[in-house]
C-alpha cells in the first residue's frame, strides 16, 4: 500500500509539462465520454485550479487542494491504482477534490478525489467508500 502524504504531494507542485493533456482512461463518473483534461492554474491563486476538457472547451470542473482545508484527510492509493496511473514516485502525484458553488459557500467532494500522475500524465477519480457521506463538505464561506 502507498500513502500519499499531505503537503508535499498536493497542489500544483509539478509545473513542467503543464500543457500536455492528462489522460483519464475511464473518464470521470457522469462525464465518461471525456478522457483528456488539462489542469489550469488560476491567476494569483495557489489553492484552486481548473480541470478543463481538451475535447470540449466549455467543460471544466473547479479543483481544490483539499489538504490545507481538511485536517486529517488522507487518500490511500492501492497498488492497482499506482499501476493504472503508472506512478513511480510520490513526487509525481497530485491530489485534488472537486468544488461546487452554493449561494453562500463553496463545497467539496471528499468521497471522490482526483489523483493525477503529473509526470506520466494520467489521471483517475477514486471512490473512497469510507467518505461516502462527505460528497458535499463545506469548504469556505463566500
Amino acid at each position: 500500500m502507498y500513502t500519499a502524504s499531505v503537503a508535499e504531494t498536493s497542489g500544483l507542485c509539478a509545473q513542467e509539462n503543464r500543457n500536455q493533456a492528462i489522460y483519464f482512461p475511464r473518464g470521470l463518473p457522469g462525464l465518461e465520454t471525456y478522457h483528456h483534461f488539462r489542469v489550469e492554474a488560476l491567476p494569483d491563486n495557489r489553492v484552486f485550479s481548473m480541470l478543463r476538457s481538451t475535447e470540449e472547451a466549455g467543460l471544466a470542473l473547479i479543483l481544490v487542494d483539499p489538504f490545507p482545508f481538511i485536517p486529517g484527510y488522507r487518500v490511500e492509493l492501492a497498488g492497482s491504482d499506482l499501476a493504472e496511473l503508472e506512478i513511480n514516485g510520490e513526487a509525481d502525484v497530485l491530489i485534488f477534490t472537486t468544488v461546487t458553488v452554493g449561494k453562500e459557500r463553496l463545497f467539496t467532494n471528499l468521497a471522490a478525489p482526483i489523483v493525477i500522475n503529473a509526470a506520466g500524465k494520467r489521471g483517475k477519480q477514486l471512490v473512497l467508500p469510507e467518505r461516502s457521506e462527505e460528497l458535499r463538505v463545506p469548504l469556505v464561506k463566500l
Partner: protein, 78 residues
C-alpha cells in the same frame, strides 16, 4: 441476470477470488459480506450515482460562473 437463492451463512463465489456471503436477513435488510482482492473496488451503487451527480454539479458550477470564477475564488485561500 443469474438469480440464485441463498440462506444466511451461505455464499456465492464469483471467479476465483471473490466471495459474497449472506450474513443475516432482518426484514427487508440483508447484510452481505464481500471478500475480494484489494484491486476490486466494492461499494454501494448509490455512491457511484452520487459522485456522478456531484461531478455534473461541479461542471455546472464552473460553467455558470465563467469569468466571475477568478474573482470569487481569489482570497478564499486558507
Amino acid at each position: 441476470m443469474l438469480v440464485l437463492t441463498r440462506k444466511p451463512g451461505e455464499s456465492i463465489v464469483i471467479g476465483e477470488d471473490i466471495e459474497v456471503k449472506v450474513i443475516s436477513v432482518d426484514g427487508e435488510a440483508i447484510r452481505l459480506g464481500v471478500t475480494a482482492p484489494r484491486k476490486v473496488p466494492v461499494y454501494r451503487r448509490e455512491i457511484v450515482e452520487a459522485i456522478r451527480e456531484e461531478n455534473l454539479r461541479a461542471a455546472r458550477s464552473a460553467a455558470k460562473l465563467g469569468q466571475d470564477l477568478n474573482r470569487l475564488l481569489k482570497g478564499q485561500e486558507t
